[in-house]
């Protein structure tokens, strides 16, 4: 028996901010399913004290949260074991991006959801577009906020359905002011920070475009399968770079903090172009053991980050970083090299001697993308 043949389906209700109605719409669907006779439970649900939402949950079976003690306080987390024992057809899990309290079985709620899917349970869940890992830098630019709770893009790609839950920003702000979303105190704070109208409009556009992209990749796969004739009609966007593409992207990982943004950007472009994605780190001795601890930790962190985004990094040995990188690219049929743009003060005085400039000169037969550091750039005139 292969696990995937019994795998549950995943449906994500995607929004752009708290209060747009994701949970409400998810519960509405849950309720309809229950009326149709589907065996459905609430595995985790965050009412945030919202009246309409709480009313929607009435009549649905709730699996009580597992209480976990952490630093003297009790926290309720999804009780994955209990849900697996109960084994419903469908389970509702709110807030997909949530980070579990230490002491939980998994660090992330999306990992809990993987367990349920593997056990053949269908899952309905909610998330905001800003929780998507590859959009982290862009969202920071819009909002000035580094979103910490992120979901790797491949996890979202696995979803069978992504549905956009939309609400015009002005209507969301009205809700906020009426105290539907937060307490008045918190609402005031929110409107000064995250809930500025221009920010909301930009996030909303991002969410709509992301949904369009999710629809696009799913029907592109479907089109190919229809063209191939009858057979297993189930969507297979699950693994790998998608339909074969001759493009291959190579990311240069270093100890510099810009590596994280570079990895996200490379991953995102690779996904959009349906390209393969590789990463390398070039070290003089070809061994992480030979470099100072602080540098090693930074490189290892970036390599782990790449793995989380399903990019397998390699460590290469080479005196000359540019030459080693380009040689690897050529031997692996890479079509595009991604390198970070150094900070202004790190450019050498003489042209052509910096790493970027050397890579560009050496890789005269390969495309090179110099990824700029995204900075906050909004200013009031």
């Amino acid at each position: 028996m292969s696990e995937s043949s019994h795998r549950g389906t995943l449906k994500i209700f995607l929004g752009y901010a708290a209060g747009v109605g994701k949970t409400y719409q998810m519960l509405d669907e849950a309720y309809k399913l229950k009326c149709e006779g589907v065996d459905i439970v609430l595995g985790y649900f965050e009412p945030h004290g919202r009246k309409d939402t709480i009313a929607k949950a009435a009549g649905l079976e709730v699996i009580p949260r597992r209480q976990i003690e952490y630093r003297g306080a009790m926290f309720g987390e999804t009780d994955v074991e209990a849900i697996l024992r109960r084994h419903p057809q469908v389970c509702v899990i709110d807030e997909f991006a949530h980070t579990n309290i230490p002491g939980s079985q998994h660090a992330k709620r999306w990992e809990d959801v993987q367990d349920l899917l593997r056990a053949g349970i269908d899952v309905l869940t909610t998330m905001n577009v800003q929780h998507l890992e590859s959009l982290n830098d862009q969202v920071w630019q819009f909002t000035g906020i580094r979103v910490r709770e992120t979901i790797p893009d491949w996890v979202v790609k696995q979803a069978d359905e992504v549905v956009m839950v939309d609400l015009p920003p002005q209507a969301l702000l009205n809700r906020l002011m009426r105290g539907v979303v937060y307490t008045p105190e918190k609402a005031r704070q929110a409107m000064e920070n995250f809930f500025k109208e221009s920010t909301l409009v930009a996030l909303r556009e991002l969410a709509i475009r992301q949904t369009a992209h999710e629809v696009d990749i799913r029907h592109s796969v479907q089109n190919e399968m229809e063209a191939m004739g009858p057979g297993d009609a189930r969507l297979e966007v699950r693994s790998g770079p998608g339909p074969p593409s001759s493009e291959c992207i190579l990311i240069l990982i270093t100890e510099d903090p810009s590596s994280a943004a570079l990895i996200r950007r490379g991953r995102r472009v690779a996904d959009y172009l349906q390209a393969a994605c590789l990463a390398v780190c070039v070290l003089r001795d070809g061994s992480l053991q030979e470099i100072p601890a602080s540098q090693r930790e930074a490189v290892e962190k970036h390599m782990q980050f790449a793995r989380n985004l399903q990019i397998e990094p390699s460590v290469l040995q080479g005196e000359d970083v540019a030459q080693t990188l380009v040689d690897f690219a050529r031997s692996h049929k890479v079509t595009q090299i991604f390198i970070a743009r150094p900070q202004q003060k790190k450019w050498p005085v003489v042209f052509g001697h910096g790493l970027v400039e050397r890579v560009v000169r050496l890789a005269h037969d390969i495309q090179v993308t110099i990824v700029a550091e995204r900075r906050r750039s909004q200013k009031e005139l």
Partner: protein, 367 residues
């Protein structure tokens, strides 16, 4: 007789404000869906219900002849202005709504053609009339009825649509809300099947719906982008970033740019972004360079790029200022390898561009 009573200024002011309020233009909210059965009418009426519960005076001006049970249940609780009939054809009774003058009027199916003899040939024109009289409108429209998207939709569905609403009507709405659901959801509710006739692209019905869904989402994103720009202009905010990709291909008269332009087009399409092509005006081109530049420009026009000639002494600086002004997120340039003494000392224009392009990605293509 109270002839000596002077009018109370407070009262006059209140009256004036009330009048102003009364005659002020109404607001328009449009629910956009990609197919029938996606749940637009329900969402619209649900909003009408909530507004009524908050104390707004809401009436239903027009509703589709066939509605689902859920919609029917919501309608039961609303005030409906009966449609009037012209030669047996039902149409929204604009006069009756104006007489009743509610705060909010619900109008289902914006694209409806009124029967001959009506005040306006199109229902969306009726809506403009209501708004001009200070009545706010919440309405629905289907993607297939947006004039500018009609041909694209027809290629997918194989079905001709005659009733349309201009896209500008959507753009100028105060709010639009996308009503999204998976194709299966529409199919379960059957009416979606009526909108395609199985020919068209020759693909299965769920596939056709999925394609329509993507177009509707992108249309909504464009409208939102347009509104974001309008908002930023209105509030005097300068923002370098955008929520969507804008690719700028830099042309030179020295290298064949066909591949780069093609890649730019493909990337712009993949990201559902925009493609720009720019080049520097140079007075001193040789005949060969002129021919090459012309050929590159022909490619750019073919690729449907927005083309701009730039004037400036310093290439890198000129390109960067254009890129910043247009919210460019990626610059594509060709790496022309040559070994001029000047370049070795002062750097190539490409080196200058890479160094100058903070906040914008630069993609260097082999020549």
């Amino acid at each position: 007789m109270s002839t000596n009573r002077r009018p109370d200024p407070e009262q006059l002011l209140r009256q004036l404000q009330a009048e102003e309020q009364f005659y002020r233009r109404g607001r328009l909210k449009i629910f956009l869906g990609y197919a029938g059965g996606v749940g637009k009418s329900f969402r619209m009426l649900d909003e009408a219900r909530r507004r009524r519960e908050r104390g707004e005076d809401v009436v239903v001006g027009a509703i589709q002849p066939k509605v689902s049970q859920e919609v029917e249940a919501l309608l039961q609780r609303m005030t409906v202005i009966p449609q009037r009939h012209i030669d047996g054809v039902p149409t929204m009774d604009v006069e009756a709504i104006l007489r009743r003058h509610p705060q909010v009027c619900v109008v289902d199916g914006l694209a409806y053609d009124n029967p001959p003899g009506s005040a306006h040939p199109k229902r969306w024109q009726d809506v403009e009339h209501l708004m001009a009289s200070g009545i706010s409108v919440i309405a629905t429209v289907n993607l297939q009825h947006i004039e500018e998207r009609r041909a694209q939709v027809e290629r997918i569905t194989g079905k001709q649509v005659t009733e349309t609403v201009p896209e500008s009507f959507l753009r100028n709405a105060d709010e639009i809300e996308i009503v999204d659901a998976p194709p299966d959801f529409c199919l379960q509710r059957t009416s979606a099947g009526l909108q395609t006739n199985g020919s068209g692209s020759g693909r299965s019905l769920p596939q056709q719906l999925s394609e329509l869904r993507e177009i509707a989402l992108l249309l909504a994103a464009d409208v939102v982008d347009y509104q974001l720009e309008a908002y930023l202009v209105r509030h005097g905010i300068e923002q370098l970033w955008g929520a969507h990709e804008r690719i700028l291909v830099c042309l030179t008269p020295y290298a064949d740019a066909a591949k780069v332009i093609a890649s730019g087009r493909r990337n712009a399409d993949r990201f559902h972004g925009e493609l720009f092509v720019a080049y520097l005006n140079r007075p001193d081109l040789t005949p060969e360079e002129k021919i090459l530049l012309e050929r590159n420009l022909a490619e750019a026009r073919e690729a449907n790029a927005r083309i701009q000639a730039l004037d400036g002494e310093d290439p890198a600086r000129t390109i960067m200022s254009f890129a910043r002004a247009h919210g460019i997120t990626q610059i594509f340039v060709i790496n022309r390898m040559h070994n001029h003494w000047w370049d070795r000392i002062y750097g190539r224009p490409l080196d200058h561009l890479i160094r100058a392009a903070d906040n914008i990605d630069v993609r260097v293509f082999p020549a």
